[in-house]
C-alpha cells in the first residue's frame, strides 16, 4: 500500500501517521506539501492528519480545505481512491465538501485529551475490515472541536446508509450520553462519504499501534487498509 500524508502548516500528527502506516504496510510514506497540485504516482491512500492547520484560524480546517493539494485529493476521491482524515483531517474533509456536516465546539466547551472507547459499527468496509462488527476499541482523542453535527436529513441518510463506521461508547460497548464526551450527534466518531471511500474520524488510531504506547487497538484500521490492497493486487 502506497500512502501519501498531506502536510499543512500547523499540522503536528503527520509523523505519527507516517510511522503507523509504515508499521502496517512496510512501505515508506510520501509526505505531500499543501502547495503541491498532484499526488505521487501510484498513491493508494491519502491521509489528512491531525494538528492545528493554520492555527485553526477562521474555522478548524477551513483554510487547509482550500489548499491547492485538495483539488488533487478531490479528483483522487472522485476516482474511488481511499482518503482517511483524522481529527483536524476530519475537519478539513468536512470543510472541503468531501464529507457532509461540520465539527462544532465540544458541547462541554473543553479541549478533551484522553483515551475513549468507540464501537466499530460494521466490518465490511476498507476502513473497518481489520475489526469485527460490534468490536469496542480504545483510542486517544485530543480536540476542542469534535462535536459532529449535521442537519436531520443528513443524519438520517448517514444512519440509513450505514455510513457511521465508528461511534463513541462505554468500555463495554454501550452507546449512551455519558460516553458521548463531546456531544456529537448520534455519538458519531467517524463517518464515510456516500461512495464509502472517504473516512473522517476524530480519534487518533495512529497513536495506539505499538506496545510502548500502552495499547494497540488502532492497528486494526491500518492492517485492514493494507489487506484491502493485498486483496486487490
Amino acid at each position: 500500500m502506497k500512502s501519501a500524508v498531506l502536510v499543512f502548516p500547523g499540522i503536528n500528527r503527520e509523523r505519527d501517521m507516517a510511522r503507523a502506516l509504515k508499521l502496517a504496510s512496510g512501505n515508506e510514506t510520501a509526505m505531500v506539501w499543501h502547495a503541491e497540485t498532484a499526488l505521487p504516482r501510484g498513491t493508494d491512500l491519502v491521509v489528512v492528519p491531525g494538528g492545528f492547520s493554520y492555527g485553526d484560524y477562521l474555522r478548524c480546517g477551513a483554510i487547509a480545505a482550500r489548499a491547492p493539494v485538495m483539488d488533487a485529493v478531490r479528483d483522487f476521491a472522485a476516482k474511488g481512491g481511499l482518503v482517511l482524515g483524522v481529527c483536524n483531517g476530519f475537519q478539513i474533509l468536512c470543510e472541503s465538501g468531501l464529507l457532509p456536516g461540520v465539527l462544532m465546539r465540544n458541547a462541554g466547551l473543553k479541549f478533551v485529551c484522553r483515551d475513549v472507547h468507540m464501537k466499530v459499527e460494521r466490518s465490511d468496509t476498507p476502513f473497518t475490515r481489520g475489526y469485527n462488527a460490534g468490536q469496542v476499541i480504545r483510542v486517544p482523542v485530543a480536540h476542542g472541536e469534535g462535536n459532529y453535527e449535521a442537519d436531520e436529513e443528513t443524519l438520517k441518510r448517514l444512519e440509513g446508509e450505514g455510513r457511521v463506521l465508528y461511534r463513541y461508547c462505554s468500555t463495554d460497548g454501550v452507546v449512551d450520553e455519558a460516553s458521548n464526551f463531546n456531544g456529537a450527534a448520534h455519538s458519531i466518531a467517524g463517518i464515510v462519504n456516500e461512495r464509502g471511500n472517504v473516512l473522517g474520524m476524530m480519534p487518533h488510531p495512529e497513536n495506539h499501534v505499538e506496545e510502548i504506547m500502552g495499547c494497540t487497538d488502532g492497528r486494526g484500521l491500518f492492517a485492514g487498509l493494507v489487506q484491502q490492497f493485498e486483496k486487490a493486487a
Binding site: 477551513a62 482550500r66 470543510e95 461540520v102 462544532m104
Partner: protein, 80 residues
C-alpha cells in the same frame, strides 16, 4: 472601498460559546440579557470602485471561505 462581511450562526445551530458569554454577562449582573449568539465580522478593503463588482467579490469571498454555509449565514455591506 471599505466593506464589511458579517457571519452569524444559523438559527437552530447550537452555539456553546454564545451560551458561555450569556452566562458570564448574567453573572456580571448585566440586566435584561435574554440570549447571546457569537459571530464574526470581517472588515475588508477592496481595490474595486464599482459597488456591484465589490459586492460580487465579497459574496464570492463569503461563499468560498469566510462562511461555512452549512451552519452560517452572512451579510455583505459596502460601507464607502
Amino acid at each position: 472601498m471599505k466593506a464589511r462581511v458579517t457571519v452569524t450562526l444559523k438559527s437552530g445551530i447550537l452555539d456553546p460559546q454564545g451560551k458561555a458569554i450569556e452566562g458570564a454577562l448574567k453573572s456580571l449582573g448585566v440586566d435584561g440579557i435574554a440570549s447571546v449568539r457569537q459571530g464574526k465580522v470581517f472588515d475588508i478593503e477592496l481595490a474595486a470602485t464599482d459597488k456591484a463588482k465589490a459586492e460580487a467579490a465579497l459574496k464570492a469571498a463569503a461563499d468560498k471561505l469566510l462562511a461555512n454555509t452549512v451552519i452560517e449565514n452572512y451579510r455583505v455591506e459596502v460601507l464607502s
